[in-house]
């Protein structure tokens, strides 16, 4: 799966003629790439900002400005799988909409494949593919195959070439035997996989996947991650958003952590992990409410970041601390009167780095 080349819309296997990508295929650039291990940036984002004007109140309408993306800059190299990671409502989707020409930035600049997303939107659209997570965005009355044929017509693809390409795409996303069924009968995961096939239909060079595993069960999400990883083998440049650290860790070469519209950290998973390498994580199982103790706990010098995870009937306090095991007694003292279960001290993971980055701002 995935490894075999999928015939492109022009009917032959592999990439379209190099004329589509003059810059990257220029011999000088190729030479440069080889000698200096330097690669062209496929995506460049500079000081990107987006402010929404939301109207609030039904009767006495007033306007309120929401700064969804607040001056972010990053770049993605050709062939890279880049993750934009952050909790709910921090501006990931807004960023992806701007990158995919579907939203005009308030200020800042985005260049993709050397094109400006606002000025050259028309030229850019045939060269990028995107999905916004969830089940919407497909024609539920049509079969999977007909959905793809329809989107093919929107991309001005030759109907014959599309017909040949569709079975390959369906196979790639594991829908070969369900393609003729109406989408309304698809499970959530099937719809999301069909979305991937849709986004690949015109063989785009760059892919934007906004929460592709949204709402999937662990198995469905894993299957989708396998598909995404295979895409990278096809030499696509991919930007992915997620709020799962482990997902970003499993897939991405580089991650930018975004919080409240700003990038708070950027680097490889290993680099991000080193942010917390000097810390230990203390896990304290508790039963019953502890909300009243949290301010005092957070105020402790030995507590760098604190978060709570719900696990069945109990909750787990995750405390990042430079003091490690020595902090345990102080913490337990503050939890006096609360039913405490197991207490453990462990090495930090990438998840902890993420928690620290998004908690630290709070």
């Amino acid at each position: 799966m995935g490894a075999e080349a999928i015939p492109d819309v022009h009917g032959h296997a592999g990439r379209p003629p190099s004329s589509c990508r003059p810059i990257v295929h220029c011999p000088f650039v190729a030479f440069y790439e080889v000698c200096f291990n330097f690669r062209m940036n496929t995506i460049e984002v500079q000081d990107l900002r987006r402010v929404y004007n939301a109207s609030i109140g039904a009767i006495r309408r007033s306007r309120k400005e929401i700064v969804a993306v607040d001056g972010i800059s990053f770049h993605i190299e050709q062939g890279e799988l880049f993750g934009l990671l952050g909790p709910n409502g921090v501006g990931k989707t807004t960023t992806v909409k701007m990158l995919t020409t579907m939203l005009i930035p308030t200020s800042g600049r985005i260049r993709i494949l050397g094109l400006d997303v606002v000025k050259d939107a028309k030229k850019l659209r045939p060269r990028i593919g995107f999905i916004f997570g969830g089940e919407r965005g497909l024609y539920w009355r049509l079969s999977g195959v007909d959905n793809l044929r329809y989107f093919g017509s929107l991309y001005h693809l030759d109907p014959d070439a599309t017909r040949k390409r569709i079975p390959k795409l369906l196979e790639m996303v594991g829908l070969s035997d369900r393609g003729e069924e109406k989408v309304e009968g698809y499970s959530r995961g099937m719809k999301q996989r069909l979305h991937i096939a849709r986004a690949l239909l015109h063989d785009p060079e760059v892919l934007f996947l906004d929460e592709p595993t949204l709402g999937l069960d662990p198995v469905g999400a894993r299957d989708l991650r396998v598909i995404i990883r295979n895409l990278q083998a096809e030499n696509k440049t991919i930007l992915l958003t997620t709020h799962y650290m482990f997902e970003a860790d499993a897939l991405c070469q580089r991650i930018a952590v975004i919080n409240k519209g700003k990038i708070v950290a950027e680097g490889s998973p290993a680099q991000l992990k080193s942010i917390v390498s000097d810390l230990s994580v203390i896990e304290v199982e508790i039963f019953g409410g502890v909300d009243d103790r949290l301010p005092a706990l957070r105020a402790l010098p030995a507590v760098d970041a604190l978060s709570i995870e719900n696990r069945e009937q109990k909750q787990v306090l995750l405390i990042q601390s430079p003091a490690g095991a020595e902090a345990v007694s102080t913490i337990l003292k503050l939890l006096d009167g609360v039913r405490v279960g197991k207490v453990a001290v462990r090495e930090p993971t990438l998840e902890d780095a993420y928690i620290r980055l998004v908690e630290g701002e709070a």
């Binding site: 579907m102 989107f151 929107l154």
Partner: protein, 270 residues
């Protein structure tokens, strides 16, 4: 030259494929029972109702006036309801963002949404006229049939022009059905399907003159009464231009909707 022709051929095929699939994808009455109830059975009841009403209230004993009027009025089922739902439907499915994110030619996309409904509407009018023949003994012996067919096509086209505009209004106002129902009954009253335009007050006649159907219905009545194509020519041109004007306004709204939605970030509001 050869390449140009091949490109043209390809574009035509792409257009038809898109038009056909979007019809299947977005047409709310596509399920057979629903379709038959709305388009095949429904018009009969309208016809019977108005023929009887006409006989009692207006003392008109010639059913053909109502038969033709109501048969032509069914054009609006496809033209207004079908087309506007096809334009507005993408909002509900969340597909707008993928539609506008594609390089699709916007005019072809827009007109493609109406294409199958026009064929469908022509079919509907023919069925309704068939009922007229069967039940009310509509007499087509004096009729130049190709001219009647052209009249039907133009009339459905012009209602579709209206439908395209209403669909865009639906995209913007997010309430297509309210607008549609209002317009459908507006057409019903002012198009002359069931009343003589001449008997309407002046302001109402003014409304009649700027809506689709009015001229098409008048032309159909004349043709069935034995007039020639040349005699109804001006009516047909008028009907066509009314439809084209609505379609043009609709297209401007469609473009504007896209531009504004991308600027404001409201592409997915619903």
């Amino acid at each position: 030259m050869k390449e140009l022709l091949r490109d043209l051929g390809l574009n035509v095929r792409i257009f038809f494929q898109g038009a056909y699939l979007s019809y299947l994808a977005l047409f709310a009455w596509i399920r057979p029972p629903h379709y038959i109830a709305t388009k095949v059975v429904g018009p009969v009841f309208y016809m019977i109702f108005f023929v009887l009403m006409g006989a009692y209230v207006a003392g008109r004993n010639d059913p053909s006036f109502y038969v033709i009027g109501n048969a032509m009025q069914t054009a609006a089922l496809s033209g207004v309801f079908g087309v506007s739902m096809s334009i507005d439907g993408d909002r509900w499915g969340g597909t707008l963002i993928y539609l506008f994110g594609s390089p699709a030619n916007r005019l072809a996309l827009f007109l493609g949404r109406a294409f199958m409904h026009i064929l469908d509407g022509v079919f509907g009018v023919i069925i309704a006229l068939g009922w007229g023949l069967l039940i009310f003994g509509l007499d087509l012996s004096q009729t130049h049939l190709p001219a009647l067919a052209l009249t039907i096509l133009i009339t459905v086209f012009s209602t579709a022009g209206m439908g395209l505009m209403l669909g865009c209004l639906g995209l913007i106002t997010r309430n297509v059905m309210l607008v549609n129902n209002t317009i459908f009954f507006l057409l019903f009253v002012f198009s002359g399907a069931n009343v003589e335009i001449g008997s309407l007050p002046g302001w109402a006649q003014a409304v009649s003159s700027i809506i689709p159907l009015t001229r098409g219905i008048a032309a159909a009545r004349l043709l069935i009464g034995g007039e020639s194509l040349a005699a109804v020519g001006p009516l047909l041109w008028g009907e066509f231009l009314v439809g084209a004007a609505y379609a043009a306004i609709g297209f401007l709204m469609f473009r504007q909707f896209e531009i504004i939605a991308i600027r404001r970030g409201t592409l997915e509001a619903f």
